[in-house]
């Protein structure tokens, strides 16, 4: 069978236990939400293929156990990641403070050029919010990474966040291999041309 994607990106979700990493992943990969909390005890992954600028990009997203006692083991998984989502819970001050520790963890264990993004999750819980949007934004600027507030419950920004991170990784890749740009635009044309003939026949069956 032909390869069903052009690129494979490995992404990692990290952050304190309970901030909503697993829910964010389930929202993104299954468009579902479950409010019962089952602590992740290990490293799990799901995939989702997305289209970015005409390229099929398979995202393999690793969800990690956030508990402190697993810290030394989980950091061993940082190495292969091309992008990392740092997640905190806007209703939990401690999880926000810990983002600094998580960033230090990344600096010590992940590839130096890994793309990062900070997510303030549970933004649907406006009434119990303790971390303002502005503080999240400031922290992100301080570390020169993108920032977004998400809700795994309502789905707000979840998809956008992943697409943004994937796009940043792809852009970096394109900059590194400028030759590929040609390939991208050519295949764009090709895809459009193929649309009318190719899929016309295919879909009619």
């Amino acid at each position: 069978m032909a390869k069903t994607y052009d690129f494979l990106f490995k992404l990692l979700l990290i952050g304190d236990s309970g901030v909503g990493k697993t829910c964010i992943l389930v929202r993104f990969s299954e468009d579902a939400f479950n409010s019962t909390f089952i602590s992740t005890i290990g490293i799990d992954f799901k995939i989702r293929t997305v289209d970015i600028e005409g390229k099929k990009i398979k995202l393999q997203i690793w969800d990690t156990a956030g508990q402190e006692r697993f810290r030394t083991i989980t950091t061993a998984y940082y190495r292969g990641a091309m992008g990392i989502m740092l997640v905190y819970d806007v209703t939990n001050e401690k999880s926000f403070d810990n983002i600094r520790n998580w960033i230090r963890n990344i600096e010590e264990n992940a590839a130096a050029d890994v793309e990062k993004m900070i997510l303030g999750n549970k933004c649907d819980l406006e009434e119990s919010r303790v971390v303002s949007r502005e503080r999240g934004q400031l922290l992100a600027e301080e570390h020169q990474v993108k920032f977004m507030e998400t809700s795994a419950k309502s789905g707000q920004n979840v998809e956008t966040a992943f697409l943004n991170l994937a796009k940043d990784i792809k852009n970096k890749m394109d900059r590194r291999n400028p030759g590929d740009d040609m390939g991208t635009s050519q295949s764009n044309v090709h895809v459009t041309a193929g649309d009318s003939s190719g899929s016309g026949g295919g879909c009619a069956c």
């Binding site: 990969s29 005890i41 009619a204």
Partner: protein, 499 residues
Amino acid sequence: MDHNFIIWMGDLNYRIQTSVDFSTEIIKALADLYQFNKLLQHDQLQQQQKRGEAFTHFKEPPIDFKPTYKFDPSTNSWDSSEKNRAPAWCDRILYYCDDMSYIKNLSYLSHPEMIISDHKPVSATFELQVKVVVPDREKQTIDEISFKLDKLYNETLPQVELNSYEFKFEKVKFMVERTQVLKVRNIGHRPVQLGFKPTPDKQDRISKPWLSIRPDKALILTSEEVSINLTVNIDSDHVTSFNKRTDSLDDILVLNLEGGKDIFISVSGDLLSTCFGSSLETLIHVHTYVREVPTGQLLDLSMSSSWEEYDSQALSVRKAPPPLDIPKELYRLVQYLLDHGLNATALFTDGGLSSEREKIRDTLDTGGEELVGSVYSVAAVLLTFLRSLEDPVVPRSVHQRCMDASNNPTLCRQVLLQMAEVHRRCFVFIVTFLKKLLEHSQENKMDAKVLASIFGEVLMNSTREEKLSRNKKTLSQINKKKMTFLYQFLANDLTVNYK
């Protein structure tokens, strides 16, 4: 069929069936009178279509023109050649679509004005409804499909259910194996190959050295379950690091499902304090029983009041009782053998019973009144006690000197002088005991060589690293020298002033 629409046209060469009653001349006449319906009843194509023999699903627009064959070339007159062909609709246009409502015929004509051939051309026009791609809808559809495929893929990733993620081994005893069962059930849609991953914090082992996992690989078919034994056994090799707090009963195992996730399994617990794996220096400060001192705190005892420190500080700082001459555990074991085992043959090679050995070790650690068991079990525990000491009775720092001196009794005696007090006391104590045994060699059949060989090894025990790093030949030479060193004390009177 792969096609949405099929237009089939050409000289299909079907004729109007002639017969005795239906001659060429009649056909020509009917054609000239535009009596097409009468002629079509004899049209071979329409007959075959009706009988389902050809072009069954095809349709043909209604024919409202004269037969298109055969004319004299360059004229509009029927064939006048000798063959006198009957006119026929040879040239036809048929069409087909899965859903005939998508195709509509607008015209079906012949063109008699064309006279170059003996055929007249036919033409038809159709109106077709064709599918076109709406880019936005297409993208949406592809996204939906790929989302569903990905979801399906995620659902087929290996899935298991565990009976527990945490295993607690409480109150583990030295050298007593404890096993708990990890049950892994395959609740996914395909067989799962599982294995344990080495982790960097364990020097790339899958578990700490005192924890064994059996089996550590397994294939589980769907809905089936495997049982994996997690066995903790803290023996002489590991107990010292527990006493020194460089190790503890904690481990995180990484259970990997091939092609899928990793699951963390926590192992925790505690080792009951034990005299085994401790040091002589520590044990002489334990007046109560070891079990009453929490694991790891044994170390503090020896550090806070070493022998010399005690002398100077005893009055002011801590009113600790004076240290014992030798560890009471060593004393109890040897005394028992002196009382009951002097005449036993094979005292140190029999080994006794493991259940008895366990009870005896417990009694030493808990201060039970009596050692219960055969002399063989007690003798085996004595050897274990000596072998597991953090630093053996003859300290490692003097091993080389012992071996160098081994052929010379006087030099051997000098080495004894270089040993720290408690070590020297214990050494002399054991030598005295062994000599006592030799006094009974008539009954117990032991001789000095055999005892020197058994005790040379435990009194001057090499570390595990030393054993692993040397080859067999070197090791046997080393053991020979250690044995000779001890033999000098059994054969001569070298300890008399130290008793």
